[in-house]
Symmetry: none
Subunit: 184 residues, 4 copies
DNA sequence: TATGAATGAGAATTCATTCAT
DNA sequence: TATGAATGAATTCTCATTCAT
């Protein structure tokens, strides 16, 4: 079963989503196609586990970084969280490419939404607790804006690797973006 | 050929990407499947044109709004541009949903990148010309950040329709985000 | 399409129901498996047509014989109708074997029920018109009994070919059975 | 092994022939699929035993009734035997439905033939002994006719439950059919 | 230019059977 | 004796593409 998931991830990374057929996954796992169905009800279930695992891992890393820094608001926290997100996304850029660009998004939707919600709630709670340190009226909305903006910037940077923007510069810009916004 | 593209768009909107088969598109266009290949080398080409047209239209609208306001920098310009983008995305929410969530993203990639580049360059030029009015060191990077953030926020808002964020509130937040960032 | 039905009939007769696979039928028809689906929605539809045709043919023959003789009730009519039924069943004993014994009955059910109903109604009408010539109280019931008994006897005789019963003897017994019953 | 046969009968009745897979039977029997093959050479063997048992039981009941009445020929004997057959078939209508309509008949063939033979021989013997009480020339043929007709009528009545024919009426008709035939 | 029947490789899935433990 | 994971051939059905008319 672990072998199957690993094989699925492998097929996705090596051959792309279009080649993600049960036969290919089975072959890659070194088992027969029939055996797949002893562990998974159908093809989609395999894909789901692969995707779930991926976002789960990313979420774990980011949540860890965020929790650690929850005490001291400010540029440091934003930077570290963004850094953690970047690292998590950089860890398996190939899989990110497939998951984020090759798969129909609705496959990742739920998992990604969960990741966003998790971080957003943390952020909203924090912002609500420090109302005085931001000029944004609604913490929930502010959290929604910040999380979406940072997430997308991070993903596009990892995926597109824009030559003009170094990793450090990106982090600087993110800090400026979030800082400026919350204090605007 | 116009009929084919229209039929393709129709199939996409009515039946979704999974039903986007050459036979169905041909039927919807009122021609035979063989005739498709007189105008398009393969299925992907039809899809590409449909997608291209979509983003082209969005780009047109946004660029128009941006050009109009290029003279007076400031909250007004950001707001109006974002407003134009929102309107453009709202115009065909169903197609947006299919294009942005159902299709593998890499199909839209190039066209969307073109749209972003276009707006980004406009923005970068503008920022470069008004170096004194921003604290961000690199206009190109700043434009990249601003465009990506606003685009993603707009798309997610149109797609997810978060109950807690009204259209006006969204525009306010965008203005705050961009304003705060550029002046941070 | 005619070729497909013929091929289906052929496969059924030559190889039996278990071998009635879409690929085999396609091969037997000298076409590719995909072409099957241009004419039939699924495998069952092909089988249905083969079965329908078979019972239709049998029904036609029997109804013809029955109509011809409807004027003169009596041993002659029964004998001729039974004869026609026997001939119809003997015409393609191999297919009868498959249709009646190899296929799950519920596949033939409707068609066979139609055949029975057709003959039964003819018989019931006739019996009702000649109430005085039978001692059975209910024409509908009598028709049900007669038709089922004769049909089954005929089918089993054709299928089992009991050595002890010649064709003529069978017809004699049928006449005696029906005659004795209606006058009992 | 008893458990397997019982489970097989259960699967047949609850889920139908299509669901009669080795895995399901094994599960229903509370054993593993592999263990099936310790008691039966293959899937067909299990089915055979289930079917055999069924017809065996029916045969037992009918033979018992027939033996009991063998002394006094006449309407009473026919009626009681037919009654016994009806009761036997009514006892497990669900299984009858599966065995007679869902299964390919040739699976039941041998066992059913045995049942028929058994009753037929009893009847033939009896008829031979009372030559004077029938006008039919050949006892064997007469027995064949009578047994097939009554059996089929009974089965169809139980299976189709024709509203117009009550149980008692059916028995009356059978008596009339057999009586009229033998004396015709 | 247009047709549309024909193609055929390839997809997901099932299930009777085996065999190492 | 019992297990149950593993097998893998076989099944039904789809669909992008072709090509003779």
């Amino acid at each position: 079963m672990e072998r199957i998931v690993a094989a699925g991830r492998g097929v996705l990374v090596e051959h792309g989503y279009d080649a993600f057929s049960t036969n290919r996954v089975a072959t890659a796992a070194g088992i027969s196609p029939g055996s797949l169905y002893q562990y998974f009800p159908d093809k989609a279930a395999i894909l789901d586990v692969v995707i779930d695992r991926y976002w789960e891992e990313v979420a774990e890393r980011v949540a860890a970084a965020l929790s650690e820094r929850i005490a001291d608001f400010g540029p440091g926290m934003v930077r570290d969280t963004a850094d953690a997100l970047l690292s998590a996304l950089e860890a398996d850029r190939e899989l990110l490419r497939v998951v984020a660009e090759e798969l129909p998004i609705h496959r990742s939707r739920e998992r990604r939404a969960a990741l966003e919600r998790r971080v957003r709630e943390l952020a909203a709670t924090y912002l609500a607790a420090r109302r005085e340190s931001t000029r944004r009226p609604d913490p929930a909305t502010a959290a929604w804006v910040v999380v979406l903006a940072v997430e997308n910037l991070a993903m596009r940077w990892v995926l597109d690797q824009p030559a003009a923007v170094t990793r450090d510069a990106l982090l600087d810009e993110m800090v400026a973006l979030v800082g400026g916004y919350l204090l605007a």
